[in-house]
Symmetry: C2
Amino acid sequence: MSGVTKKHRVAIVGSGNWGTTIAKVVAENTREHPDEFEEEVQMWVFEEDVQLSKDSKHYKANSALASKPQKLTHLINELHENVKYLAGISLPTNLIANADLLDTVKGATILVFNLPHQFIGKTCDDIEGHVVPFARGISCIKGVEVTDDGCHLFSDRIGEKLGIYCGALSGANIANEVALEKFSETTIAYAPPAMDHHEPGESSAPSSNSKSGLKAIPAEYPELCHASMKKLFHRPYFHVRVTDDVAGVSLGGALKNIVALAAGFVDGLGWGDNAKAAIMRVGIMEEVKFGKMFFGSSSKPETFTEESCGVADLITSCSGGRNFRCAKMSVAERVDIHEIERRELNGQKLQGTSTAAEVNSFLKANGKEGEFPLFTAVHYILEGKARPEDLPELLEPTVHEKS
Amino acid sequence: MSGVTKKHRVAIVGSGNWGTTIAKVVAENTREHPDEFEEEVQMWVFEEDVQLSKDSKHYKANSALASKPQKLTHLINELHENVKYLAGISLPTNLIANADLLDTVKGATILVFNLPHQFIGKTCDDIEGHVVPFARGISCIKGVEVTDDGCHLFSDRIGEKLGIYCGALSGANIANEVALEKFSETTIAYAPPAMDHHEPGESSAPSSNSKSGLKAIPAEYPELCHASMKKLFHRPYFHVRVTDDVAGVSLGGALKNIVALAAGFVDGLGWGDNAKAAIMRVGIMEEVKFGKMFFGSSSKPETFTEESCGVADLITSCSGGRNFRCAKMSVAERVDIHEIERRELNGQKLQGTSTAAEVNSFLKANGKEGEFPLFTAVHYILEGKARPEDLPELLEPTVHEKS
């Protein structure tokens, strides 16, 4: 690596439950790989005033901080804990909370996006023109946007807006479990297009990919390849596998919510473990088919069948996720799922119900409803146009396909 | 199908919980497809004397049968219920219990084997030379025999002994749930070698496959292809997919038990859903690798990742199967698993512990232990040479493979 004189600087955009967890992972790793990354990691925090609760372990020891509401960034930087969104977890001291978005991303060559999807637009608007031109992004935002026009990946939206390459991270990753360093795995999709050759010293006029217009990383910096992604995200308790399939990684996190509803329906009927496993298997197959049909060869079956973002994430969502639980209650109690949603989720919304409707509308617009009997059945059950009891019959065509 | 004048006659060898369930499925289907199958299905029953219990719904209505112990075959044929092994389930009246093994298989062109694996040898010895030479077999016996010499499929053992082709059926099929007609799926592997061409009228000297010596089905009979298997086993509540991969279908049912132990270990540690899903994913990948390494191109990755006999069966086993439950209790209570086995299983044995030992010994004999870190870790944990807490570290090499 002759010619490499600089290090990558990482910024985390977002600091909720999952955002702070990923920031912890990344900051642990920049500290462990000081040859490639600057140790300090900036994390953008949406500033708010927070009153330390009496239950906090910091309450007694920090009487000054506890006496009145404090800025969240100040509390994070003083206590090395996100007392509001990830209470009880010690954060690395090289992770710095920053309320200034532009200051957070300034000079960062790696941008990790981890915020609720509804804030992507505004956030990208704000930082457009202020990011390093050859920066690389990783979106940790679950799911895809489905409209009748098509399926849009959040990573593409970010990348196109900012003029940078953006990959994706998704997996069977319940944030609190990862924060507690309980074992899990994740999948990172990272495949920037090939760039023109660049030589040390050329960095003032970086080369680029002629088609995409993306800028190559100057030779003064370490390469950013699959192995670098592993260095940045892999931990002894958080195992990383890297793939090229951005579409597959993103789709799994959206479509699994439809499958989890169906798993909840059959479990609510008391149909047992065979039925639930059958629904999950059919669900994986429809994910594979969806990827192939709408993303072509860029989406690989193995992403759904073999990776954490596919089969494993689907398994956790069908085990105890909120879509599964609410669907199960809805059928077991014979109560409308929206009523269960209101009762159980404190004003939050189920992801699966809107995804099922959006996907159904998209499939209909493409004349492909019949080829996805499970996705279609879930939507019709939610709409009251089919019953959970009809699922075996509705799924028979899929089953007949193979032979 | 000109020239077809005969129908296939089906016999079920075995009448336990799962045997009787499959017999019910098959007899329902022979009745629905009278053009291809003789309606009557004979089921071999290991004869025993059974006293109708006072709890039986038949007790009052059948005072004569209830007055003293009766032959099990007599009870099944009178009551259309296997009161001993599948109580409470009505059986089709065209299913006939038969205590005479040779009489059961006489003239049968389709033999369905569904008995405990330890009885295969003796049963095949008894019927050798008495089966229709061109008969086809389907083994519903889960698992494989693993010795240091190799992995042997039960279907091969049956087929070789009887000189017939034998396929396999396996899936996420808890017998009682299938018997209650709760929705499930299964996988059938059926791929007899190509036979020499045969013409109607040639049946007295049936053609055969020169390499295998297997006899072609005479032209007077309907063909037995994937579609026939579906006709014989598919029900509205029991969806069938047919594949050519006999090795994969059989391996899934054996190797999943090792994975279920590992899932139980991490669940016993309280590591949550991420960790359990990660273990399951790694387990599926080791199944794929095992199939490829030891059965070559005849075992396809999709059998494990996409079929009921693979991913779905693994999911049910890791949800509530006995291997999972006992492993979990063992770790949570810090009690040796063999003690849990004695306490919980009434003298029955866990399949997973012996499979883990056999597979480990086989892998060691082949110098491949290191390539299957999960299977290897489970064996060492059972042997007390590693701790469940070590799993993430022990699995890291697998994770690093991809990139």
